[in-house]
Symmetry: none
Subunit: 203 residues, 4 copies
């Protein structure tokens, strides 16, 4: 079993890696399954053993890559010891933005799917523990000194805004390069958070 299962996994990994590489290099439309299997060094039939078609592997990749992004940000957050929900959310977003700025192909690949990839990936793909990211967000909210209403709406709005505006700013430097846009973006995020804060129940 060990040997065979190992081999199976290795082939699947090879397919994932190669597909990702080709998708960001040549684009999804221009990447044929033959390209993938050829470069991955497996037979054509093998692809169909693990994936339904090109879009199957693509969706799984988007999902996977997005989770990686959030998890890395979350790890860094823990190390940083940042306190306070506002600072924490901005820390996470800033971390992701910085990562993507240094990896434009990845930015282009997940593009505006950021949100869906992160918050709803369970629904789309069958990936095991997909929306543990969402759980982590909820935990951060709970631990804050303030209480919040409509937490999911708040998170959704923040992530959508950051994803969409951030993407354009990073990709096209419009209306401003991301470094110059950041102050505006983070100010807006703070406003959103505040607007969801329950009036402090001063005892």
């Amino acid at each position: 079993m060990g040997k065979i299962d190992e081999n199976k996994k290795r082939k699947k990994e090879a397919l994932y890696n190669t597909a990702y590489e080709l998708f960001i290099t040549k684009g999804i439309n221009s990447t044929a399954i033959s390209d993938i299997v050829e470069k991955a060094g497996v037979a054509k039939g093998t692809f169909y053993l693990y994936f339904k078609d090109k879009y199957d592997i693509k969706n799984k990749l988007v999902s996977h890559k997005t989770q990686e992004l959030f998890n890395a940000a979350d790890d860094a957050l823990a190390i940083s010891g940042t306190k306070g929900l506002e600072e924490q959310l901005i820390f996470i977003i800033d971390h992701i933005v910085n990562t993507l700025m240094n990896n434009k192909p990845l930015l282009n690949f997940i593009s505006k799917n950021l949100v869906m990839g992160a918050l709803r990936s369970t629904l789309i793909t069958g990936e095991k523990n997909a929306n543990e990211i969402y759980e982590k967000f909820l935990k951060l909210v709970e631990q804050d000194e303030y209480s919040y209403t409509d937490v999911d709406v708040m998170l959704f709005t923040i992530v959508e805004l950051a994803g969409s505006a951030g993407y354009n700013s990073m990709m096209y430097e419009e209306p401003l390069p991301i470094e110059e846009y950041k102050p505006f973006l983070y100010r807006t995020i703070r406003l959103i958070i505040e607007s969801h804060r329950k009036r402090t129940q001063t005892s």
Copy 2:
């Protein structure tokens, strides 16, 4: 001249209309150029007289449809007689949202291209008066009783947020159906506007 040019225009129009219909019906990937010309009743070669390929006509359509949306909203704004920048911007967005809610295929077609399609179409396509939409926005801002800083950043942020969050809400009813999400969305938009308002020059 009349006769020939008229004919040219008619064929081009036919291609535009048919392509749009097929794109929203079958999707872009599944629409072949043969489908378009066949349904439009012109020869295949004629398509290539006017468009470079499928994506050429697609981009021009996205651009065109987006402008239509904004223009219709603007017209309605004029009729409504709404006053005040906050109310005006929200009126426009609300108008577009309502239109798209009644036209899901269109929503799906322009999807997240909404934003950039609208504000940067001049740059991309050679369409004549493309960013007069942007001009109109600027005029609204100017005419307000308040002054604003970084107007383009403000408009960009609003449009990105509305486009991205609105799309998800309308399309997937997540995290809430659009009617329930609207209050949150509009509240955030008001916050963004306020945050760009110059400190009232109290006389």
Copy 3:
């Protein structure tokens, strides 16, 4: 293995044969790949499994047919027992001329590519033992009672002349039909050979 490889070879052969037949029947420009595969009884995709395009298979065919011509001439030479370089070279050329006279379509197909097809095929195509023809020529030269200078120039000149003049004479009967032109051609070939002969170092 046997079965699959056999099948592969059979299909490739079928493509070669059909292509040749069509090329000499309808001409290369008028032969479509669909014609070839249809007549060969294989699927269109199969063609691209073995050849890059129409010109790929054409070049390989020219090369192949030219080699066949030389090899047949060489075999006949061995049987004839002809002695002496002059007589041997003329025997070979005469054999090829006679063969082509009885096979005008082949003459037309390889036309003036005769020469280069034969002597440089190794360089161009990856065909295995392509210029063994050249080797055979060299051997004939070596075995002659005389020595020769600039052997490759001599062979080149002879083959070019025979190929070019012979083609026109056979094809258009200009300035004379080949049978009447032969004496002139062979006389010139003898002159060329003599002019490369080293002054007999009679000891």
Copy 4:
């Protein structure tokens, strides 16, 4: 008349020049009639007013260019004052070879059509005084101090050899670069001429 006929001629000339330029640049197969008319600045229909198809204009061009070559060589011969048939024929061939060496695209274009293009152009195209070239050759032969048998065979053999061997030598530097091959070529030409010389009727 003047004006209209002038215009006609100008368009035809433009088509010739443009076609030639494109043929040597992109190759004949890759040059479409649309390319020609577009670059020539005339309407598509106009092409068909003057030529039957692409191959019509091509043949006329080959013929025309070849004649130019021979005529230029002949003019230079006259100026040089070279005497004796051997020297004269070699002068002509040398002149043409040198011209083509400085104009590889032209060499490639007329390639092996050189010979027939020159000597049979009358037959093929309806060009007015095409084989006056042939006449000139005959005159040179007549004026020589020696008499020759089978003059047309002699000229044919020389031109075929020079055309075919020269082309390969110039184009591929095989078996030798043209400058090194020239001595062999010219030696062979002299042998051919001598072999057609009537035994001097020493009275």
